[in-house]
């Protein structure tokens, strides 16, 4: 309060400021700025300082303007119930208010937590190496493409992706491909999953990376991943597989189907629904170790011979290698990775597998109920689904989605007569309401 005129987060009393200025030998703080007059700013922004209580009230009022909907939304952003212990532990100031572990001796705690996160991803992907985070699934996919560009000897410049791919993810991929002069092309899908014959037909020298995902953006589980892997292998394309950390706990191991790189989303553990904030997975085979983007934590020894952890292989990174770095990423999602690891530890393998199995069962059950309604067919694709599935509605989908919104439910409208519905433990208790609302609006 006595510091109301300045930042409340600087401790200087007037006397202290004066003493410090005297020590420096200047009269006032202005004298320390070396900004030529013409470009100096002496206007104001018109931002009124507020108390923390005022801001809490103000933001609470703002966020109340979001409608109170029960969301059955997915398509790349998922959340499960996050146990309270995840918040309490990850919020510990030593984690939250530290930075990159440039001084490992004093940062063993976070380094070990990230090492453990990497190890969990190694188990889930079956690959040798996992980095300690990317921004999100989309940027991780982009980085996979640039890695493919670097490591593949083919003269190609094509990245092959499924025609059903989240538009935003594809847009990000295009931006990463732009700089590497790569072109993104799609392969067709057959009833919700990859048309492997079409892929085989299209594959060839010009393809540096072949990307498939399971579950797909529509929640379908790919059934022929190994076959796709074989195509990639034969044509010397990098096989990048997109998935989700929860799904990975039950799906066939990416390594077993021949994946060279796994990208995807791990924020479905640890993060609540957060407007799309994510945690990108990046794992790959040992061969590409020196081409991995992002940070890696490795085990070593300290001067006493005790096991110790440190960031390693930093010559891949931009702060050493500059324009020859494997990626421009610097600040990453370390704290989110910590949260995902704590969440995984809290669940244990049992809990994680249960959660994943429920993602299959709940989706199947809800699809069947919606299918029972007249005017709707679900799931549209005759596949195994994970969390979500497409629904055909006889009426125009956008209108149905809007009507459902009026009833308090949010679903995706993905095409003229297609909706998409995602069910997790968070909304599974509200499916009766959703089905009733569907019945009412169809």
């Amino acid at each position: 309060m006595s510091r109301a005129d300045g930042t409340p987060y600087a401790p200087h009393t007037d006397a202290e400021t004066a003493a410090m200025l005297a020590a420096i030998g200047v009269d006032d703080e202005e004298a320390l700025f070396d900004i030529p007059e013409p470009v100096a700013f002496d206007g104001d922004f018109g931002i009124e300082p507020r108390t923390e209580r005022e801001i809490r009230d103000e933001c609470a009022r703002i966020f109340e303007r979001n409608d109170d909907l029960t969301e059955f939304l997915g398509r790349g952003h998922y959340a499960h119930y996050v146990p309270s212990v995840v918040d309490h532990l990850s919020d510990r100031a030593e984690f939250l208010t530290s930075y990159t572990q440039y001084q490992p001796e004093v940062s063993q705690g976070f380094l070990q937590a990230l090492f453990e996160y990497q190890s969990m991803l190694v188990e889930l992907t079956g690959l040798d190496v996992a980095n300690c985070s990317m921004y999100d699934a989309a940027t991780a996919l982009g980085e996979a493409a640039t890695l493919a560009d670097r490591v593949r000897s083919t003269s190609g410049d094509t990245v092959l992706v499924p025609e059903q791919l989240r538009e935003g993810k594809r847009a990000v991929l295009e931006n990463y491909c732009d700089g590497a002069d790569l072109t993104v092309e799609t392969y067709p899908m057959a009833d919700g999953t990859a048309d492997v014959d079409a892929i085989a037909d299209r594959a060839g020298d010009d393809v540096v990376m072949l990307y498939a995902e399971s579950p797909t953006v529509r929640g379908c589980l790919e059934e022929r991943l190994a076959a796709i892997g074989d195509v990639a292998d034969e044509t010397d394309a990098l096989f990048a597989l997109g998935s989700d950390v929860v799904a990975l706990s039950v799906l066939e191991s990416p390594a077993a189907v021949g994946a060279d790189v796994v990208v995807g989303e791990a924020g479905s553990l640890g993060l609540p629904t957060s407007y799309g904030m994510g945690l990108g997975i990046f794992a790959c085979r040992d061969d590409f170790l020196r081409q991995v983007p992002g940070r890696l934590v490795g085990a070593s020894e300290d001067a006493n011979g005790d096991r110790a952890y440190t960031l390693t292989l930093q010559t891949r990174e931009q702060h050493i290698r500059k324009e020859r770095a494997t990626s421009n990423i610097c600040t990453n999602q370390a704290w989110v990775a910590l949260r995902a690891a704590i969440h995984a530890a809290t669940l244990g393998p049992d809990g994680l597998v249960d959660l994943a199995n429920d993602c299959v069962r709940e989706a199947e059950a809800l699809a069947a109920r919606i299918d029972g309604l007249s005017g709707a067919t679900a799931p549209v694709h005759d596949r195994h689904h994970f969390r979500e599935f497409a629904v055909h509605v006889d009426q125009p989908a956008p209108a149905v989605a809007e009507d459902l919104e009026t009833e308090g439910f949010a679903v995706h409208a993905i095409d003229d007569h297609l909706l998409q519905v995602c069910v997790t433990d968070l909304n599974a208790g509200r499916t009766d309401g959703l089905v009733a609302a569907f019945e009412g609006v169809l």
């Binding site: 930075y99 931006n175 990463y176």
Partner: protein, 476 residues
């Protein structure tokens, strides 16, 4: 000040707190209960299965073995490690803000409003006309800005192949330019540590898409010739990119937009005090002048063109997307709360105190600072000592050392940025740590640190024989 860091060590096994895997794993038969056919599933999954109390202890102990701003000074140059006001965590935790990004704009008016307000605040602070919040970190902001630049040039039928970057710039600038497909033209630093106008003249030309500049630069010096620099670049048809990592020094004192910059990123985890989280998440919003606004990522948020409220829209020539959704939302909320808390005067005072602190600290240390006048950070030189060793020794004195050996224009650089949050006494502690370490014997430096959880770590060995998972350790 002496700091003994907490340590939990199993002497018998030469490990600190054991790995979660060493405390007990469980193997689950995945197929047993699976609703999926066998050929879709793995047969088993092996992961740690601690009880909640074990989990709580594990991470509590790990946290105690980790330095942080809330423990003490953390003057990493270029990183702007500020105190992160606690209430911003509460604001970000509002369950009403926890909505899915695919919500209709109509049903997410609250989020749109906050996005709109933050876009506007940032535009005002940077002197920019339009802002996107999508980039999830500073480097992502750079890539966004450079891709916008590229799209702008291409839109004007202007294919350019080079980005000019001062040698002293942060590695992300170089890597970003390369990622965007540009050739990097490195600009040697001038004698005085700033951009040399002649060298610049020589470097720019028809192929120059942009000059990326940090201002104050990475040793805290303001580019006094910024107007001339802007003219040179603009005259060559290039754009001027502002790396916002050092914006903290300029808050309320100078705006990139007023200096001729066309595009900039903001490092909200630096300037606007959102937590660094052990390496992230951050956020790197990008601001541009009007001419570049049509190229920004989609969607942006504006006031509704019809009726009240806010709406998303796609800029006319958008580059598309740089993040799958709306960026690091929780981080953006905290930045909004921080800016609102400080207001005009608080922001200007933050800059003033950050500069005061850097100058006071430089005054107090026995190391030379070759360049000046610097602002919020300075690069001292350890001269004939090894900067990295001096840093290790500093760890014993209850402070985190500065960034070392960068930028290279200062030999054995110790790039120091105390930020505004330190008071005189903690700056004195920092100075003492500097001076004691700097004056210490070679043997003492070699043997340091002594009071940290781990003694000096073999980083060369870690890279030579990479063991990146507990599976790799087990395989030995």
């Amino acid at each position: 000040m002496i700091h003994d860091q907490a340590n939990y060590e199993r002497g018998d096994e030469d490990v600190r707190e054991p790995l979660l895997s060493e405390k007990g794993q469980e193997t689950v038969d995945v197929r047993e209960d699976s609703p999926l056919p066998e050929d879709l599933t793995r047969d088993e999954l092996t992961l740690p299965n601690p009880s909640e109390p074990e989990t709580a202890r594990h991470y509590t102990r790990l946290s105690q073995m980790n330095w942080a701003i809330d423990a003490g000074p953390y003057p990493l140059g270029s990183c702007t490690m500020k105190y992160n006001p606690k209430f911003t965590e509460d604001v970000a935790a509002d369950p009403n803000a926890a909505v899915h990004p695919d919500r209709s704009g109509r049903s997410a008016q609250g989020n749109l409003e906050l996005q709109y307000r933050l876009q506007k605040m940032l535009a005002d602070v940077g002197g920019m006309d339009a802002v996107t919040l999508q980039p999830p970190a500073g480097a992502a902001g750079e890539l966004t800005g450079i891709l916008v630049t590229k799209a702008y040039h291409e839109h004007h039928g202007n294919d350019r192949s080079e980005v000019v970057i001062p040698a002293s710039a942060h590695g992300t600038n170089f890597a970003t330019a390369a990622t965007a497909g540009y050739d990097v033209v490195e600009l040697p630093s001038g004698e005085d540590g700033r951009v040399d106008l002649e060298a610049l003249e020589a470097a720019v030309g028809d192929e120059t898409a942009a000059l990326m500049l940090t201002n104050p630069n990475t040793v805290g010096l303001f580019e006094r010739d910024i107007t001339e620099i802007a003219d040179i670049v603009h005259d060559a048809g290039g754009l001027l990119y502002y790396d916002g990592a050092n914006l903290n020094a300029l808050l309320g004192r100078g705006r990139p937009g007023d200096m001729g910059f066309d595009v900039m990123h903001y490092n909200v985890h630096k300037t606007f005090a959102t937590p660094h989280g052990g390496g992230g998440p951050g956020a790197g919003p990008v601001g541009v002048v009007d001419e570049l606004a049509p190229f920004l990522p989609t969607p942006r948020v504006r006031e509704s063109t019809e009726g009240s409220g806010y709406e998303r829209f796609e800029p006319a020539h958008t580059i598309g997307r740089v993040h799958g959704f709306a960026g690091n939302w929780l981080v953006l909320i905290k930045a909004y709360a921080y800016i609102a808390r400080l207001g005009d005067e608080g922001l200007a005072d933050a800059a003033a105190k950050a500069v005061l602190n850097a100058n006071y600290l430089a005054e107090r240390i026995d190391l030379d600072v070759p360049h000046g006048p610097f602002h919020h950070e300075f690069a001292a030189t350890a001269s004939d000592r090894d900067a990295a060793d001096v840093a290790k020794r500093m760890l014993d004195f209850g402070v985190h050392p500065p960034t070392t050996k960068w930028p290279e224009m200062v030999p054995e650089a110790m790039l120091t940025e105390p930020t505004e949050i330190e008071g005189q006494s903690s700056l004195d502690d920092l100075a003492e740590a500097f001076n004691l370490a700097y004056a210490d014997t070679d043997e003492a430096l070699d043997a340091a640190p002594n009071r940290t959880a781990a003694a000096r770590i073999d980083q060369v060995g870690a890279a030579r024989d990479p063991r990146l998972s507990w599976q790799a350790l087990d395989a030995e």
